[in-house]
Amino acid sequence: MSTVLDVAGLTVAFPGVGEVLRGVDLRMEAGRCLAVVGESGAGKSVLARSLVGLAGEGGAPARVSAERLTVAGQDVLGADERRWRGLRGQDVGLVLQDALQSLDPLRTVGAEVGESLAVRGVGRAERHERVLAALAAAGLDEPGTRAAQRSGELSGGMRQRALIASAIVSEPALLVADEPTTALDATVAQGVLEMLGRLRDAGTAILLVSHDLGAVARLADDVVVLDGGRVVESGPADVVLTAPAHEVTRALLDAVPRGSRPPAAEPGREVLRATGLHRRYRLPGGGSVSALDDVSLVVRRGESVGVVGESGSGKSTLARMLVAAEQPDAGRVELTGEPWSELPERRRRPRRHLVRLVPQDPLGSFDPRWSAGRVLRAAIRASGSDRTPAELLELVRLPPGTLGRRPRALSGGQRQRLAIARALAADPEVLVLDEPVSALDVTVQAAILELLVELQERTGTALVLVSHDLAVVRQVCQRVVVMQAGRVVEQGPVDEVWQDPKAHVTKALLTAAAPPTP
């Protein structure tokens, strides 16, 4: 087999930042898939970009040096911009991490996908044909229609596929795919991975950058673990993932949600009851979508309920309904046995502290001008509790120094903790969390989930956890509700559902959430 990639001693530095890659060695053959894993900031994306000579994109110009740099069979050590241009798109395809913004929203998908051909002067007719073929190969239905659309008219999964199509349209020997599945929901991600598998089987070498070890396990032949810009471990995938030698690898593997919680000791009194909720939304182009269709749910004290489902299945709508941020078209929600959803806002206000929502995007939920301390003090005042901000920080394991900082100055994990602390200020009966970890790095995600479990055990607050990731739900919840197209299609104790899924969606979600080890 031919060597597609041969890199030795690749070092990349940025002025003012320092070295972000330090002597990286990589080697891969055609028809193989090499996965690069590592924590956020390890240098994975820089590595991916370096392979097409675009290391310095989007910032200061990079200083790149290497002992050996052979890409797609060509020695590009010290290559000038012209050489690189000849290589890019033709011999190497790159799929950028920000899939949703990587297609020019002003141009048609066809023009975007065909660009690497257009650059090389391929005629219009041939280009069109090859674009359609690439779109089909990337697993998009109706390639003709898609080619005429613009990226804004495509869903996230479609965009990701179109982007991959644009990288493979010239049939490059090497495809570098940076996090091709992060933006996608589980079932869609599954499809994209399968497609990449087919490409590899057809002979394309794939360099897969990912922090999702589940995805890696399913696709990669070999794995390289990056940490702080250095390769800390490398080897065949099954070896590295089952018998990790380096602590970074182990930490990564540990962070993957695994295992489940024991069922709650005694389900306490009922705190929240939703009966027969309906909600329809009007769509911009006319018509309407049923976001909730006869959904009922009971939440008891001390219990934690997971709500899972594909994107758009109505999970967030349900969450908003529960905290009375929105009114149902039909059906009602009761809070601690008393009316809730049908009350006017004025009468709800005194009992608002009983339910709390932790929103998906914590940063947006903080007034940018308020410090963490002020956020907490306001929450305490609003709920009339007698906790102190310091206590709350302690509860979510944030250092007291956080009090004076603004939300922007906090990391993603810290922000999520602050959002939880704010919700806890009121000693709520129910805490509703909408995708609390989807935006976080695996290791941070693990810590937050742990915190949630611990909190619930300490305070007995009922949790409603909305997620598209069954593994996340399994780690925190005892009971799970599976939704599809606004309806509850399956519910029951997490372990039962996990072992014996009934609904089709549940099965799909489970495959996607399968842990890396066989």
Partner: protein, 329 residues
């Protein structure tokens, strides 16, 4: 359907504009010193006989109560009957018709020049490489800011003194629509606007040029030039197009000064003269035309934005605003 609604909305805006203009101008000029009958009878300071004044007052309903006069004026304006000029005794529509093209040509050339300058500035800034290049971009930014606060009358005076009085390359006055005679006034108008457009375009270009889609394009083997022309520029042009509506207003304001300075015929000069002589019909007419022109230009900008950005096509009204803080037009 949406197109029809959009059109109706524009028409409603035009009618509203007419009403506001008529009201504002009428009361402004009527409460200003001086009497319209003077304007009619040969300008202020004329020594017309009492009979003549009385006759004119009756003829122009100036002896009616103010409210009646206002309603009469309103009825005329909203139906776009501009009437006759007091001072020049010609139909206002004719007067404006004579002056309109000159001003439009001037404003259009000004806008064009502003775009050319702004484009040049923005692309240079984005393509600049190396230490010297960066330095130059820093200077360019400073120049943009300075240009954007340059008073027209001063800039124009300097241009005249240098290029006409001093070097004698271009005429100091501008009377026709030949490029030679338009160049200096158009440049005077263009520079401040170019300063703003340049800032906006450079910001947009810098953002678009580092956006993931630009990187992706490079990863496909596209050259810098291709990335610029096929991708980044279109994005950068969007806010600039939206701004051009505002810029038009600014150019017309500027035209008042520039036309006087260069001795160029046009609406701006007509407006000043008419205001000075309290020639209410002319002032209403000119202001109305300017305001409606603004509505038209805004609509054109709307359409253009939709041409460039298909994402906007579904929306009824595009988001547009003056450049940050550029609230005067």
């Amino acid at each position: 359907m949406t197109v029809l609604r959009w059109l109706l909305g524009r028409l409603a805006a035009a009618a509203l504009v007419a009403w506001v203009v008529a009201t504002v101008v009428f009361f402004a000029l009527r409460s200003a010193g001086g009497d319209p009958s003077e304007a009619i009878l040969g300008g202020p300071g004329s020594q017309a006989s009492p009979e003549a004044v009385a006759q004119v007052r009756a003829e122009y309903s100036l002896d009616e109560p103010l409210l009646v006069q206002y309603l009469l004026q309103l009825a005329r304006t909203v139906t776009f009957q501009l009437g006759d000029s007091y001072a020049r005794r010609r139909p206002v529509s004719e007067l404006i018709g004579d002056q309109l093209t000159g001003t439009l040509v001037l404003a259009a050339l000004g806008l064009l020049l502003a775009w050319v300058i702004a484009l040049a500035v923005a692309t240079t800034a984005v393509l600049a490489r190396g230490r010297v290049g960066r330095r130059a971009v820093g200077l360019l930014r400073g120049a943009e800011v300075v240009a954007s606060v340059m008073p027209h009358f001063w800039l124009g005076a300097v241009l005249i003194a240098v290029f006409a009085g001093g070097l004698g390359w271009l005429p100091a006055t501008s009377s026709d629509s030949s490029l030679r005679s338009l160049l200096l006034p158009a440049l005077t108008l263009a520079v401040p606007v170019a300063g703003f457009l340049g800032q906006v375009m450079r910001d947009g270009l810098e953002e678009a040029h580092t956006a993931p889609f630009a990187t992706t394009s490079r990863a496909r083997g596209a050259s810098e030039g291709r990335v610029l022309w096929r991708h980044s520029l279109r994005h950068a042009a969007l806010p600039a197009i939206a701004l051009s509506g505002w810029a038009f207003g600014s150019l017309l304001s500027g035209a008042v000064v520039v036309e006087t300075l260069f001795g160029r015929p046009g609406l701006g000069r007509l407006l000043i003269d008419a205001t000075h002589s309290r020639d209410v019909p002319v002032v209403i007419g000119v202001v109305l035309v300017i305001a409606l022109g603004y509505v038209v230009v805004m609509s054109v900008a709307d359409v253009l934005e939709r041409v460039v950005d298909p994402r906007l096509r579904g929306r009824v009204e595009a988001v547009r605003s003056a450049p940050q803080g550029q609230v005067v037009s």
